[in-house]
Amino acid sequence: MSNVKKIMSNRCARLQNVTFLLALVQTVALQGQSVDFSKTHFLTTKTTITVVGENKLVVRQEDEIVVADEDSKDYGRGWVSETELTRLKGLHAAIYDSAGKELTRLRKKDIEESSLSSGSSYSEHRTKFYQLRHPELPYRLVRSREVEYKSTFFWPDWDPQENVPVDRAELQVILRRPVAFDYQNMAMEGPEISEGSGGEKWYTWRVDNVSKYESEYRSAPETRFQVGVKFRATRFDLGGFRGSSESWRSFGAWFQGLYAGQSMFSSEVAGLDGFSEQVPPRERIRNIYRNMQKQTRYKIDWRSIDGWRPHHADKVHKMKYGDCKDLSTYMIAMFARAGITAYPALVYTRDKGWVDPDFPSNTFNHCIAVVPMADDTLWLESTSDASTIDDPPARLEGINALIVKPDGGHLVRTPLSAAEDNQSVFTATAELAADRSLTVKGAIVLSGNQAIRTRSILTARSAKERQDWLVKQFSGRAADVVCNAVRFHHLDNPDSSLAIELDLALSFFARKAGSRLFFNPMLLHRIDFAGEPPVERKMALYNRTRFVNRDSVVFRLPVGFELKGSAMADSTVSSFGKFSFSATGKPSNRLIWKSAFVSRAREVPLEIYPEYYEFMTAVEKQSARKLVLKKHSGTF
């Protein structure tokens, strides 16, 4: 060994007194095995879930990782957030060279603490974290962490897949006491069930050669969990609130217990008048909903039972802010005061996952309010200033929602809007000048999910930022885009379509090819599809919403030019939708361009993905088509 390394290794040679069992484990693991140090991979990952009772769960995770590149040094980061319901029991880590010699290890003083919440949100927690790295690659990182949860409510799923290959993964569930639980295997076998010497039951799952996770274009979120085990404790106790997930009804009953009493205004609360029962119920609901949108703000402030219990409606009324369950609870209280019956509903928004109706569990990430009407049900998003009572955002459509009523939970599928409900219609006149610049005057009218999304973006921006946003929608079409004027209609009124009147100047819009000019007439609604070829695709695809985009532009061409080729029209049709276009030359140098793209595919299972791929690549190609103008004579 060179003197340099000797000096440095001597400095690192101080051993701690604390017994480190993993040091023994790793020695045993290495015996007789050849380890591939050429690329980063997990040699082993082991999770042990020890269930002590309904109020105590200890989760220990131990990993042994070959780190072979700089990026993978991030595996040397570890953290645990402690709350009133979770406690860190141990954090360990050490790094060994390829010969098994210890290079460095985590010491107590290396573990740092922070109680910072992200951004403006607030949650009561204390995060302990560390970072252990070594300059020389490759090396072997051995790390473990042990966390105690004060409730089986937090029983974690087991997902051993990582962004690098995993050679061997193991899960062990040890029941120290009989606790009712259920599991669901995801693409694996098991468990092996055995009994320990103390009478505890052991459940063991093992899987070898887990391939690395590779993200895909618009993958359906639930398909990202590819291998592992899902769990639920059929009975649990969270902060004194006992519950059951034997059924959706029982789980809903538990949430009802948390929520009960929080949605009733006390008599002292003022400022709740003005929602007369003379007004028809739907209008009353609309008025209350709009009032709430104007007056309240979304803000996270988690303190009670790790953020599961909503704040009281009195408090939200006073502060005028809260998270989704606070604002939903508040809205329900307002409805009650106005004589309208409403309930909270727990959901897992479509952009994040999917509730399996056959596996009741605490799988939710959001709370909304539901109003059953005589001939309809209203699904009310309390955190959006852009949606309406008739039009919830796309992430609430077509999902399983757990409506929580006094008699418990009821799992119901929310409706899915039709493509025609979500339109973006662009109508304009466009003058193409001899210098190839284009002046565009027209309007974009948005409805449904398209309006909700655009409103959400624009209301969060200042006037100048809105203008910049509009310019960016067109900036791929020309070398320079200048906004001469823009007006936003009904930006603050979600009950009307959103209309954007625009007057733009696009420099160098038409490109040159000698005496020809060419341009793509799809000024606004360009179609981009980056899906993997079918042979490579592994996950189902998910589109945010069904929609229709229409373009209707009358181009006035410069004098002396004509459209090359005759009038054209074409369409691509399938069960996933339709794209059609037409370009018609007219007298006085006019060209009328019309296109329409109807997208009906919300979810595309893997089995039919090849057909979808074929449809979308054809549509993309058609939408990128150029129109060519030829000058009658001379060069341009």
């Binding site: 000096i7 700089e70 910072l116 802010y321 200042s462 070398a479 200048v482 160098f508 060419f518």
Partner: protein, 651 residues
């Protein structure tokens, strides 16, 4: 009677106290909003503003009794004009973890004048470093005024916080006042106000209760300040916001006279005495390491390079950002972990151990703002780099970036001025940002087929910062194929890489090269009987990087760069070239663009060069720059037209 006298004394004292504290609060009374601001629906001077700071006033007071304490009081009001500004209701006040925040109060003043108080102030802490007071103002609506006041107590008086007069929203009034006890001397400097001279300094007398003497309070005030917002291609907003900085200079009383930093010499002394200065004397362990690393070398430059590489590669980088070290030399060697400045200080020790002429240099990294060489303010620096002179050549080194070779500086450290710390001889070193610091070159051979497929081979080279960028991307990519696709795809939808350099690895080198084969299905578009194809593949702008119509501040590209692309295109058999783009040259004060296409019959040769001649463009030339970039985008998108078996003349 005695009682009457006692009351009079108490009342007089009370009056005196009220008179003393009148300066702190008579400027703005908490809870009072001028009607014109409460009624305001749009800010006339900037109708696009979503909010306005009505006032932002602060007072710093040093009090010296048994010990010195700093009291900082701040009071501000924000008027909400637009929905998008409601986020100002979420406030976070950050402060040093040993300081104490007292008398924090806040409320929302509704348009009808009603006030709703904040009752809950939460505290969070990051490491044992700083704390944050978080709170949300309730019931915020458009038209509300948010009002916040708080006081911070600190025992750290020598490092007064800078005061920024401007923010991302317009400010109607900004003021800082400073009260110092007798004997304390601070230097102050106003930055970024040379052009408009908006900040005025005045003084006011007041009665100091402890000395019972009339002293001067210093007041800096500015009104009607426009917003300073971030824009693309800007190094740091600190270079543009009007700001006031302080530095503790001296203390004197009848018993003692203590000088801190009053000029460069005292600044150097302050730095070099202590842990920082210990790096000028290499330890035994450092000497041993140096001897091992430089064994057999005779050239000073070779030694310097070997030591630089060792520090750069053998110590893990820690993101702690300051010019001073936390640990000593031997500890850094032991733990093999160091911040950027610690690495450079260790390098300094090693260079000196090798007998080389090496000194520490203080800089302010690009993101930290430019330094003002006219003031000896220590706080304006945030990194130490190493100066070494070998064989009459001066080399500045910053070993914090794994991909920067010896002799170059990371982009963050590419600044024009640094301060060499040398006892009795401090001086500034100029490092003019001249010359092309980044070059990229792609040479391709492509062939077009009749069905629109383009196939080809590309040879890529990069030098300087372009090389660094390529190496970083190689390092961060999951595979070499991903790197090539992501790096070179641009707007080349559907590019397929059919051959690549499988042994490509990220290195710290000033040059980078690789090659690959590719296919672009459908890249050449077939329209009727013609094929349209864009000859520019990789170095091609498809949209203008400048979107805003106006610009407040200079465009800072950071360094001069040059990109060249050559593409030899083979025409499909049986096809003639019908249209070829005319050669284009755009020559401006700031860049040169040349694009040429030469028709050789069966082949076309395309070449494109874009060279930045100047790395900074003043805001007054922004419109022209934007227009010129639009011309480049237009030229890059021009197409070649081919037709099957027809005349080869232009029509």
């Amino acid at each position: 009677m005695r009682t009457h006298l006692l009351c009079t004394v108490i009342v007089s004292s009370l009056f005196a106290v009220l008179n003393l504290s009148a300066h702190a609060s008579d400027i703005k009374k908490y809870g009072k909003v001028e009607k014109e601001y409460l009624d305001m629906t749009v800010f006339p001077a900037d109708t696009t503003a979503s909010a306005v700071k009505i006032f932002d006033v602060a007072e710093m007071e040093l009090i010296y009794e048994s010990a010195v304490e700093l009291y900082f009081t701040r009071h501000y009001q924000i008027k909400i004009l637009d929905e998008s500004a409601k986020s100002y209701a979420d406030q976070s006040i950050r402060y040093w973890h040993e300081d104490k925040v007292r008398r924090m109060k806040a409320h929302t003043i509704l348009p009808n004048g009603k006030k709703i108080k904040v009752k809950n102030f939460r505290e969070e802490e990051y490491k044992k470093n700083y704390k944050v007071k978080k709170f949300t103002l309730p019931s915020v609506e458009v038209g509300s005024v948010l009002e916040i006041e708080y006081k911070v107590y600190s025992k750290y008086f020598y490092d007064l916080e800078p005061w920024s007069f401007q923010s991302e929203i317009p400010t109607l009034e900004s003021q800082l006042s400073l009260r110092l006890p007798i004997g304390f001397v601070f230097n102050s400097k106003i930055h970024n106000d040379e052009q408009y001279r908006r900040v005025r300094m005045t003084t006011e007398e007041y009665l100091d209760p402890s000395s019972r003497r009339r002293l001067e309070m210093f007041i800096w005030r500015s009104v009607d300040l426009p917003a300073v917002k971030d824009e693309p291609y800007i190094s740091s907003l600190k270079n543009y916001r009007a700001r006031l900085d302080f530095q503790f200079s001296a203390y004197q009383d009848r018993y003692q006279s203590v000088k801190f930093i009053k000029d460069l010499n005292t600044l150097v002394d302050e730095q070099l005495d202590g842990r920082y200065g210990s790096f000028l004397k290499p330890t035994g362990d450092v000497k041993n390491v140096v001897a091992e690393l430089t064994a057999g070398m005779t050239s000073g430059k070779d030694k310097a390079e070997a030591l630089y590489k060792f520090v750069r590669d053998e110590l893990e980088h820690d993101s702690y950002n300051a010019y001073s070290p936390r640990e000593k030399q031997d500890k850094l060697l032991q733990t093999r972990k160091a911040s950027g400045s610690e690495k450079n200080l260790l390098l300094l020790a090693m260079l000196r151990a090798a007998g080389l002429d090496a000194k520490p240099v203080l800089i302010s990294t690009r993101g930290n703002g430019r330094i003002d060489a006219s003031v000896p303010f220590l706080r304006q620096y945030n990194r130490t780099i190493a100066f070494v002179k070998v064989e009459e050549e001066i080399i500045l080194s910053d070993a914090s970036d794994r991909f920067i070779p010896f002799g170059s500086l990371p982009f963050s450290a590419l600044v024009e001025v640094g301060l060499i710390l040398e006892k009795d001889n401090p001086q500034f070193i100029r490092n003019p940002n001249r010359g092309v610091k980044s070059q990229s070159f792609v040479q391709s051979k492509t062939a077009i087929s009749q069905d629109g497929l383009v196939t080809g081979t590309a040879d890529v080279r990069a030098i300087g910062y372009a090389s660094r960028r390529c190496n970083v991307e190689v390092e961060n990519s999951d595979s070499i194929e991903d790197y090539i696709s992501d790096e070179f795809a641009g707007d080349l939808d559907g590019i397929e890489i059919t051959r690549l350099d499988t042994v490509l690895k990220a290195t710290a080198s000033d040059t980078f090269k690789t090659e690959f084969d590719f296919e672009l299905p459908g890249f050449a578009e077939i329209i009727d009987d013609e094929i349209y194809v864009r000859p520019a593949l990789f170095h091609c702008m498809s949209k203008n990087v400048f979107v805003s119509q106006k610009r407040e501040f200079p465009v800072e590209f950071g360094y001069r760069s040059k990109g060249t692309e050559l593409n030899t295109i083979t025409v499909p058999v049986g096809y003639d070239v019908v249209e070829v783009p005319e050669n284009k040259v755009i020559n401006s004060k700031y860049f040169t663009y040349r694009r040429m296409v030469t028709n050789l019959g069966e082949q076309l040769v395309f070449s494109r060069t874009l060279e930045l001649k100047n790395h900074t463009v003043p805001a007054t030339d922004y419109e022209q720059l934007k227009h010129d970039y639009a011309r480049i985008v237009d030229a890059d998108q021009e197409q070649i037209v081919l037709r099957a078996g027809s005349l080869s003349k232009n029509e």
